[in-house]
Amino acid sequence: MSKRRPYVRPMGGWWKKNPFYVEYMVHESTALFVAAYAITLLVGLVRLGQGEAAWNGWLEAMKSPLSIVAHLAFLVAIAYHAFTWFKLFPLTMPPIIVNGKKLEPEVVVGSGWTAAILAALALLGIVWRIAA
């Protein structure tokens, strides 16, 4: 009779066992902040549809200290989300070949970050001009 009895180790709490996994869980969970911000904006849109009083109420709510703290948290979390999202580019994208050579991961990631910063600045500039 076989003496084999392979032991399967439990997976509970797997993400706490390695700093790499902890960072993975942190950057994945920043998606919740992206969702929360999107919902905040959607609520604003709905309030806009409900008329002037509702819209002004939403604008006032956005000025509350709680809202400002929440938005700062959104900003930090979404910035980290963008940072790690582009960091995964070399893993998730097909290799980009330029002049017969594979583009270095640093170049791919750096281009992503640069594009994200430029897009954010451009958006900020447009909003600034509309507001002025």
Binding site: P6, Y7, M11, W14, K17, Y21, Y24, L91, T92, M93
Partner: protein, 265 residues
């Protein structure tokens, strides 16, 4: 100095003044008697040129001959000696005791595999996965001997060469939580090998392999943790092979609506 220390090691003499001793905590499991694995600590004298594998061999030779582990080449090419060293999947032959000293090191069988005994894991699931991906060239256009060999340019060769470097050490499986959570997931190394054949200009098996790529066991188990590529000792980047095939599977799924020839089987 170094030859002197070596000679002393061979004779089994370890003067305390020169001899460094490291504690190695090994996760032991005897299927005949143990309900679950348990740790045992060994005090191993070592020299600066000793690998973790040599440390484990020292334990087997001097403390407990029943300690079971796999190894062969001692030079990071056979892929047999993978272990969790301080919780990180590594080839024990290219990890050195001096880098951990004076701290205790823990050595455990590769994660996400069933433990057969001590540091030996059950690889049968992995072998089945390797077979499942059809790891051979399925000729695009069959040629007779008279027609001569298949020609391949260096550029075509460069498309897949990276994925041929895999030594089946399975460190990437030990690094992948999705493999641990779903042992049926085809996993990084097998997908890298599948990609190796798909990317070969002589091969025409991409459509045949697609069924597996897009299946329940396929690439969509991957959540892009990326640790597989991080721990790969041969820089195969299996995570990239998995993720590129997510794009391929998505293309295959959507393009079948556009192309009359690309229908489902």
């Amino acid at each position: 100095m170094v030859p002197l220390v070596k000679r002393q090691t061979r004779k089994g003499k370890h003067p305390m003044s020169e001899q460094k001793i490291i504690e190695i905590e090994v996760l032991r499991y005897k299927p005949e008697s143990d309900q679950a694995p348990h740790s045992e600590v060994y005090k191993v004298p070592f020299t600066d040129d000793m690998s973790v594998l040599q440390g484990v061999q020292y334990i087997k030779d001097n403390f407990d001959g029943s300690l079971t582990f796999r190894w062969s080449c001692r030079m990071a090419i056979c892929g047999s000696c993978g272990m969790m060293i301080n919780g990180i999947p590594k080839l024990s032959c290219e990890s050195f005791l001096r880098d951990y000293y004076p701290n205790r090191i823990t050595v455990e069988a590769l994660a996400n595999f069933p433990i057969e005994k001590d540091l030996v894991v059950d690889l049968s699931g992995f072998i089945e996965k390797l077979e499942a991906i059809q790891p051979y060239i399925i000729p695009k256009e069959p040629r007779t001997l008279e027609q001569g060999e298949y020609i391949q340019t260096p550029e075509q060769f460069s498309q897949y060469i990276q994925f041929t470097s895999c030594i089946n050490c399975t460190l990437c499986y030990a690094a992948c939580p999705q493999v641990g959570l779903n042992p049926d997931f085809i996993g990084p190394a097998a997908m890298a090998l599948l990609h190796r054949y798909n990317m070969d200009s002589r091969d025409g098996g991409q459509a045949q392999r697609m069924e597996l790529v897009a299946s329940e066991e396929g690439v969509y188990n991957c959540s892009a943790v990326g640790y597989c590529s991080e721990v790969c000792p041969k820089h195969v980047d299996p995570g990239n092979a998995v993720n590129v095939n997510k794009i391929n599977a998505a293309k295959d799924y959507f393009l079948r609506f556009l192309s009359p020839k690309g229908g489902a089987q």
